[in-house]
Symmetry: D2
Subunit: 345 residues, 4 copies
């Protein structure tokens, strides 16, 4: 038989299989999004609309209630935050602003829905001794799975904690030393607010540091989590604003107790079976991770200095792995479905 | 039964359905990509890797042969253009440069593979009376389906011809009049070539027209196709280079035989069942279409001028609907599978 | 004498000349800026601060009154709009918003200051039969020079009218025909207002048309001026928003009464002695003109169409030649000093 | 007398003064630029063309010899590197590539011209014990003034050394500690070379670190200079590539011997009379410095960590203060004219 003939045999078998797949009436989990008009809220809606096992029960956005939004090629009706729709959802994502979120998390939980809160309201270090798991998924699956409510990490902490965890857990970081983190984020990290300093003509061709006195609010959750992992290190964190829409790159220097020959193996070992963590000998860049639910981590030994030091670089998409993607990853676990489902890796 | 209880019932039914879906051993069509290192070539690889019924048999890139590329989270080996691998593919995409493509199209066809040629070599007006269908999919499904070789349209013509076809076919355009097209493209439209004028510091904060004497090579295929559709109009086409990576926006003025009250209905009627054409009362923008296999078309009646005139605006992603996406759309039809499969709408 | 010796002779003569220049106590004209916190207002302040014969008497900005601004390396105190300071200025620039400007123009004129109004309030076609010259400088020097008040043209009209004037005055444009103008502007053209659609993450990687029904307010002044120049042509004007901070590029098609062999000569003749108009055989681009007080004009005969047609391309910096620069150019004339002084060509 | 009348008196006095200024036949120093087609070379030509006391004797660019360049609104003829033109210049700038520059520096010096070399060939740490002053102007005026040849610093070192010098000289930095520098540069810092990774579509929306193993070649001159200033600190330097055309921002952490109450005073004291150094309580940004010959320095005490540490941020335009501007600043001193002349502050 000719090769050409062989090539065209599969077609018919395929079509049958596909028809069968498509014919299955898959029941989907209804999920709701509170605070759907911001960048994280829209990304959540987009992920839910493209998710094979989730469907959008409602999307609330007080400032745009009554308007239609076009997301992922579909038309969505934004409603007011409304207690009466909460029971329509098996799970509710809250992308409401910090401060406004926690009361809606309570209402949604009271309605019987599981909840993933993307605000900082319930994160460690924010004053709530609340028993709500901190949903840094790769480090918290066991507590996330049965939890009625999960607090989704901030964007910077997601990149930085996943990068630092193997070092800290392995005892490589020099006790008492300062870990310096110079990080840069795209402007969607500042949320969807019409601030003069975030207008195109102000951000394009610029680059600036902010919260430079080591007072960014994400330090609270980073310190709390690193302490839990056993770190005895101070964090010095200087974030910068990049003229890009999406993405975070964190450049981290970690003083070591002693020189390490093949440092990358530390991460390769720690994360060998992780679907959303990429360990690379190349230098991670924003391009590698944008629109994907991954953190990409690289590492180099600093040459020419006396103190043994590692330079660790981590990159994420702040709206995906740093917000909505990780929220869906947590939701998948909470709903008992495949953790990777509906997530662009 | 409580609503909360009801909400958690579906889970088990879903899991069963999903397992069944995943368990089906779907046979995929092996496809090859010639010229895989350019922007269109990489987009093709990415679409193939994410396609439920296609798999990548090979990817050639002479300039990067032997190197590994990271596309869509996977590692690809680029090989030399090589006749011996052509029989491994049921279908071959050629994204080779203009002039270099046609000989490989012949070789691939001779090997028994179906072929979609993304170069201009076989397009109408380029001197080949070749019988190869011009794969502007929405206007050419019947000739594309049985064809062994299809010539994929250029990026500008895809947007412009889909926008003009209903007007021309309906006889609305004023005979003898000039249709003026002011179009703008992101820099990936110029291909992946390290030209000094395409470097970041030369393109950022700039905007420029090119081929301004009405001599862009895409005019050949646009004139040929519009003549086939019955147009008696001249085209005046001025393309511009935008400081964006992706996207084409075409702003088209069409003198009319007489005033039209509800012009949008012309497109709504012509394209009512098209999955990849969006007709909108809003003004189409690049953001609406980037990374999607759609053309988005809007239309307005020009006010305050004597000659009845329509302003038609069409937007596409030059690498998706304007190149790789439409190529996969054609390939889906040629392989007898669902036209929309694997394409981001 | 050695050449090296010759080279070092001039130094001493130079120093003497320079010292003499610097020693002259040049008296400067005090000028005020109303509405100084917007993009045009800041550009005005910057030009005044760097002008050899102007000095900044005051800068008002109601929304930022009491704050200090850093412009051109200097610190400026923004005050409230205040009638009492008007007499401090020999000339007042009003960059107040449309609608709010005309009353302050009256007050400033009543105080004895000459006035250049950058708003649209007093422009032709805006309903005021006011006798105020329309300060398109190159076409209006004689009326600008003695005028107590001058209305500064809009940014689009500056580029478009200077490009069209020689054609229209020469009778080249086909009577009754539509002149189509596809233009694109950087975001500073929309003013310094914190609109959600002008935020970085909304504008970057996008391109969009606006006011597409031929209803942009700049049409009023363009129609009025072209009528005065003797045009019998309709204007079809579609502006677009570019992801750049500054610059306007207008691509204009003009149907002709007959074919023209060397069209560029029309502009070269008309503008042969103009210091701020550049006629070029290359295609003008934004890069050529940004931060300069020039309009750059190129022209090509359209090939392959029946109707003889010119494609004219004009580029300006919307904040310089399209606003603050032209305002200073007019002010120089009104104050009797060299027209080019203090202007970056 | 009316105020209005008073306001218009100065005009006539001014005009007289201005006429006198303009009438002086100022003799200018002829200067040449070797390697004029790159970004630094073009910036040099632009500064020279706008300089009141310099004139361009020649501009060489082997790759574009025979072509005309348009710089600062003027047309320049690029010639080949040519020994015979060297005697035409009182001073020669070499912006030739590293490695190719030193031989032309020798030739120019032999011709009797003074020379400013912008390449790294003669910088400290590059293997030449050459006696050529390192022209970090603010720290080197006394050696620059009489020197026949000066080596112009690299862009990163200019920002970083000016920021660190007062701390090091004052003995504030903790001996033995590592100073960590996370810096980011616009793409013109990589020079005018058509590298695929510097194309618009590769750089836009990206951010990446490079030379991450602490091996950037600028470390050589930074280490050498800091040692001269008395530092006993290691440098850990991670540069990043920004999606902007121009500008460098360096974020520097300096461990201290003890806490400092008002650290900014250190810089204010050290640089109180410097025309091109700005000390600020705000955080310096690229926007503050682009197209200006300044370094802008800010400083904050790190809170919440045990080791007393300063966060110092410095910003420059890499092409101006980081290259061509500082070269002209040095040239001004070498030619005995005002150091600030012709430089945009």
């Amino acid at each position: 038989m000719s090769r050409g003939g062989a090539r065209f045999q599969p077609r018919f078998r395929i079509d049958a299989a596909v028809l069968q797949c498509y014919a299955l009436k898959v029941h989907k989990f209804p999920v709701g999004v509170l605070g759907a008009s911001g960048y994280a809220g829209r990304e959540l809606c987009s992920l839910v609309l493209n998710h094979p096992l989730l469907e959008l029960a409602f999307a609330s956005a007080n400032s745009q209630a009554g308007q239609k939004a076009h997301i992922a090629g579909q038309e969505i009706d934004f409603i007011h935050n409304d207690e009466s729709v909460l029971p329509d959802a098996a799970l509710v994502f809250s992308a409401l602003p910090h401060g406004a979120s926690s009361e809606w998390v309570e209402r949604a939980a009271a309605s019987g829905a599981k909840v993933v809160d993307l605000s900082s309201d319930l994160r460690p270090g924010n004053g709530h001794a609340n028993g709500v798991p901190y949903g840094l998924t790769e480090l918290a699956r066991e507590t996330v799975a049965p939890a009625p409510v999960v607090s989704n990490p901030g964007c910077y902490p997601t990149a930085i904690l996943l990068a630092l965890a193997p070092l800290v857990k392995g005892g490589y970081a020099l006790p008492g030393a300062t870990i310096f983190i110079s990080a840069a984020s795209g402007v969607t990290g500042a949320g969807y607010s019409a601030r003069p300093d975030l207008m195109f003509a102000e951000v394009a061709e610029d680059f600036r540091a902010y919260s430079v006195a080591n007072e960014h609010r994400h330090l609270l959750e980073m310190r709390a989590e690193l302490a839990l992992l056993g770190a005895d290190n101070d964090l010095l964190f200087v974030p910068h604003l990049l003229p890009v829409a999406r993405g975070i790159l964190a450049t981290i220097t970690v003083p070591l107790t002693e020189q390490i020959d093949d440092p990358l193996a530390i991460w390769q070992d720690a994360y060998s079976s992780e679907p959303f963590i990429e360990i690379t000998r190349e230098t991670p860049t924003l391009r590698d991770v944008v629109r994907r639910n991954v953190v990409r981590i690289g590492c180099t030994v600093a040459k020419g200095i006396r103190q043994p030091t590692l330079i660790v670089i981590a990159a994420i998409d702040n709206l995906v792995k740093g917000a909505a993607g990780q929220a869906v990853q947590n939701a998948n676990i909470m709903l008992g479905i495949d953790e990777t489902m509906g997530l662009p890796a």
